[in-house]
């Protein structure tokens, strides 16, 4: 996985999933973003999207809009990120599938059921 460029790419990937209202960063990922940038590892983190090569984990923090069930949107995000990892890991067979994609749903803007 080419972590030098992937964090910004993954922001686009996550935001393109239907039902995603936007990236909603927590304070931990915001500070990790600044830390990564100070260390010259800017590709590893964007506010709300963190790539951790040591634990081989991608964390995405999102706000969801109304629509499909929450877990369906979450699974779409996980699969979209995994596909992006697979693409960037071309030439590194056997590595891509070992990444874990953790989605943290920060907010849900209604589930569309309220009648009054």
């Amino acid at each position: 996985m080419t972590t030098e460029t992937s964090a910004a790419d993954l922001v686009e990937v996550v935001c393109a999933v239907p039902g995603v209202r936007g990236i909603e960063a927590g304070i931990a990922s915001s500070l990790r973003t600044l830390d990564a940038r100070l260390r010259g590892e800017r590709g590893r983190a964007r506010y709300g999207v963190v790539i951790d090569p040591e634990s081989r984990t991608v964390t995405a923090e999102v706000g969801l809009g109304p629509g499909a069930p929450v877990r369906v949107i979450v699974e779409e995000i996980q699969r979209a990120v995994q596909r992006a990892i697979d693409r960037s890991a071309a030439g590194e067979p056997g590595e891509a599938r070992t990444w874990r994609v953790l989605v943290r749903v920060q907010s849900v803007s209604g589930t569309g059921r309220t009648q009054h």
């Binding site: 936007g22 909603e24 960063a25 979450v74 907010s107 589930t111 059921r113 309220t114």
Partner: protein
């Protein structure tokens, strides 16, 4: 009689339960402003990097993002583990979980959600994460026109169970309903 719109929808629940849930509409507006801010700082850094500038660039926007991230964390509360999807693990903030439950409660005619609290199992990972919920406590207001309060409580319970099963695959939950108030429609 206190109108539910004036009722304090904030609440701590009992004992170990969730922290104060802020009102829904201000939450939603604050969330939208924060999402816009994050989008803005992403665009700013992408532009700077395209110009060959990879410095930290603690612009007013970047500094504001840190401040807003602190506020957002307070709004969100702790994160709660959910049964994983087929593609991996995920968590929901307490605020998001309350939104799902409140939507279910509010979907029952004549019912308004007041406070929602959860009991959790032991978390599998992380000291700032709560375990999968196994009990939900809903405090509600019911229309004075309701004839059968037991039936209303059963309808709310069924709606909450269905919503949590559909959205989060949460099953084997106990849902306690407490009618705390009556209101005029």
């Amino acid at each position: 009689m206190e109108h539910p719109d004036e009722h304090d929808r904030r609440g701590t629940g009992e004992g170990e339960h969730v922290p104060e849930p802020p009102d829904r509409e201000p939450d939603d507006e604050a969330t939208q402003r924060y999402l816009d801010l994050i989008r803005s700082v992403h665009d700013e850094w992408t532009t700077l990097e395209a110009e060959g500038d990879s410095s930290v660039q603690l612009s007013a926007t970047a500094l504001s993002t840190i401040k807003e991230a602190v506020r957002a964390d307070f709004r969100h509360g702790a994160h709660v583990e959910m049964p994983p999807t087929a593609a991996g693990p995920y968590t929901l903030s307490e605020m998001a979980l309350r939104t799902v439950v409140r939507d279910a409660v509010d979907s029952v005619p004549g019912v308004i959600a007041l406070r929602t609290a959860f009991d959790h199992g032991l978390p599998e990972g992380g000291h700032r994460v709560r375990g999968v919920p196994h009990r939900v406590r809903c405090r509600i207001s019911v229309s004075v026109d309701a004839r059968h309060l037991t039936g209303v409580a059963d309808a709310v319970r069924a709606a909450v169970l269905a919503e949590l099963r559909e959205h989060l695959a949460l099953t084997d939950l106990r849902v306690d309903i407490h009618i705390e108030d009556l209101h005029d429609d």
